[in-house]
């Protein structure tokens, strides 16, 4: 078992904020808290809590891509939508079969990976300039929205499932393990454990050798290439991984709400992952995790109270953060607070 200390060391490597013993104590305490917290919540509240968490994978994927690899994508919601719709089609056609939801999830993730690989091949192997990837990913998601929007009517159905045009696809089955339907408290734990596993897995990745190469590409692509790394392949792998993570969020979303509409891949939705990542701090997975949960909570609270300025506030937040905290609010706090001696030595943050 010599590998366990090695993995722990890797996990606490230098490529994310929060590495002290204090941090890990707080982190574990926060995890334990998240595990027992639903005891004080109703099933409805626990499901809402799951909603704040379910966007974490798409945000972490974008954080990896933008913050660690230097490739910005505005079209992560396209993969969110692809996975969601694919799950709806496959699982919806296999109603009654216990393996339907699992097959749907696998198909959704596979299709995300395939689309991202084809798209990524053209942009990364073309060695395009920096600004082209975000523009083309945005075009992809806009076209997907237009396509899904015009799929109203009876001729647009796959098997027994209708795509539904702008009204979206409804009645998507929830997730199932064997014959056990994952909903309510169970759904919360399912999302929580997946999110924690993805976070820790990505933290291992960025501190591993492969992660260091990604960072090197971000810092200086030409030098990295001259050192003998195939930067095109590395960027492509990171792009596909980010797409798969976005797909996982899409799966959680349709399993949570049992519906999906084309506006989920529209321009407004496309801006949200960028906001979460930019506001927290793209160069830290932990910062992205925290800001995603916090901003989802904020947005949900604002819009459920019928507050029509929610998106103006989101846009203003993005502009203010880019102007005054270009590295992100959480990262700025993590750097400033220890200097001011507010927390003694470096301290972590509870999620």
């Amino acid at each position: 078992m010599a590998r366990v200390p090695h993995i722990l060391k890797l996990l606490s490597g230098p490529e994310d904020i929060g590495r002290s013993r204090w941090f890990w104590a707080v982190f574990i305490a926060a995890c334990v808290f998240m595990l027992v917290y639903p005891r004080w919540l109703s099933e409805f509240q626990a499901t809402n809590l799951a909603y704040y968490l379910l966007n974490v994978p798409i945000a972490l994927g974008l954080g990896l891509l933008w913050g660690y690899c230097g490739v910005l994508s505005f079209g992560q919601v396209a993969y969110f939508g692809i996975a969601g719709y694919t799950y709806g089609i496959v699982a919806g056609n296999m109603v009654g079969d216990d393996f339907g939801p699992i097959a749907g999830s696998l198909c959704g993730i596979a299709l995300c990976a395939v689309v991202a690989a084809i798209f990524g091949y053209f942009v990364f192997y073309g060695r395009v300039q920096n600004w082209i990837v975000p523009i083309l990913t945005l075009v992809l998601t806009l076209l997907l929205e237009t396509f899904l929007g015009q799929t109203a009517g009876y001729q647009w159905r796959v098997g027994s499932v209708q795509l539904g045009g702008y009204n979206g696809m409804t009645g998507i089955p929830g997730f199932q393990l064997g014959s056990h339907v994952v909903m309510g408290y169970d759904f919360y734990y399912y999302v929580l454990i997946a999110v924690l596993a993805i976070y820790l897995g990505l933290r291992l990745l960025v501190n591993s050798r492969h992660g260091k190469v990604l960072l090197a590409i971000r810092e200086d692509p030409i030098r990295t290439e001259l050192l003998g790394y195939d930067i095109r392949a590395r960027q492509l792998v990171a792009f596909v991984l980010a797409a798969v993570l976005a797909g996982i969020s899409g799966l959680f979303y349709v399993q949570w709400g049992n519906y999906i509409t084309p506006s989920q891949v529209g321009l407004l939705q496309a801006s949200l992952p960028v906001v979460w990542v930019a506001v927290g701090g793209r160069e830290s997975l932990l910062a992205v995790l925290m800001s995603t949960v916090a901003l989802n909570w904020l947005n949900y609270t604002l819009s459920s109270e019928g507050y029509q300025y929610a998106l103006i506030i989101t846009g203003a937040l993005l502009v203010v953060v880019m102007l005054f905290f270009p590295s992100g609010i959480v990262i700025a706090l993590a750097r400033e607070l220890p200097k001011r001696g507010l927390f003694g030595r470096r301290k972590g943050h509870a999620a």
Binding site: I135, L140, L142, M322
Partner: protein, 297 residues
């Protein structure tokens, strides 16, 4: 005469698609060529142009004046935007993309909050002319002609004025231009303002053909971005013209056979293939040709 009319009709189809792409993208390309940043609020600036035109038109301002008004209103707004925000992001392309996206969210949602979900439409000016069995919209014919005037004007501005000379210098080597006494700050502001003004102008010109709503900019965004990606940033005029002609050649036949949406999808695929072959866009390829010819001349 039938075959003549058919030929005119085909040329008209290609020209309208090309003019649409050119007008959607020209403001974006002007800014990209100078500062190497993409203005993601481009669609919202077009929306502002259409709003300006609609508000002025319904106060009995003649349409041509509405269009000019839209150019100046949005141009001045662009200058303010550049001074206040965009200026801080030169050299940080991705940061500029993100911050202009924030601006676009504020503008579209702000327009929704201030003006409501739509503004009164503007009827299409001009009637139609008939050639053989086909009839053509005078308005679109004037837009096509206007594209020619616009490109000629831009060419004259870049090639025959001091400010254009300074702009080209700042594009090629900003540090050297600055050392030689060019006020690059002012050039950047004027260029951003010009790009924004052109977006406003296009928005006003398209205003009679679409419904005027807070999110109307979105429908221009995808074709505009594809045109810019294919055009590249090496030369504003060859990029804009070359790319709109090329993409019109793709979009027109496919759109004619399979419908408008498939035509736009074909644009995306064309863009992916073109950047695989010409990563810096068609303008870089044309620029190399021009440079080579000049060297041997």
């Amino acid at each position: 005469m039938d075959s003549f009319a058919t030929i005119v009709s085909v040329i008209y189809q290609f020209a309208t698609n090309g003019a649409f792409l050119l007008l959607s993208a020209v403001g974006l390309i002007v800014i990209l060529g100078m500062m190497n940043i993409i203005n993601l609020a481009h669609g919202e600036l077009m929306m502002m142009g259409a709003y300006t035109a609609s508000i002025a038109w319904h106060r009995n301002v003649p349409f041509w004046l509405c269009v000019i008004l839209a150019f100046f209103v949005v141009g001045i707004f662009g200058a303010v935007l550049e001074r206040a925000i965009v200026r801080r992001f030169y050299g940080r392309e991705l940061g500029a993309l993100v911050v202009t996206w924030g601006i676009s969210l504020i503008l579209s949602q702000g327009a929704l909050a201030v003006f409501g979900p739509f503004l009164p439409a503007i009827p299409i000016p001009g009637g139609s002319v008939a050639v053989g069995q086909y009839s053509f919209s005078v308005y679109w014919l004037s837009i096509i002609a206007l594209c020619g005037v616009l490109i000629a004007g831009l060419w004259a501005l870049y090639n025959h004025t001091t400010i254009g000379l300074q702009a080209r210098a700042a594009m090629q080597n900003p540090a050297m231009a600055k050392a030689l006494g060019v006020n690059t700050d002012r050039i950047y502001m004027l260029t951003f303002s010009l790009g924004a003004g052109l977006a406003g102008l296009s928005g006003a010109l398209f205003a009679p053909t679409v419904s005027i709503a807070p999110f109307m900019g979105q429908q221009f965004v995808a074709p505009a971005f594809i045109t810019v990606v294919v055009g590249g940033a090496a030369n504003v005029i060859t990029g804009a013209v070359g790319s709109s002609v090329l993409l019109s050649l793709v979009k027109t036949p496919i759109g004619f056979v399979f419908g408008a949406f498939v035509g736009t999808v074909a644009l995306l695929f064309a863009a992916l293939i073109i950047i695989r072959l010409m990563p810096d866009g068609i303008s870089a390829v044309l620029q190399r040709q021009i440079d080579r010819r000049n060297r041997f001349a």
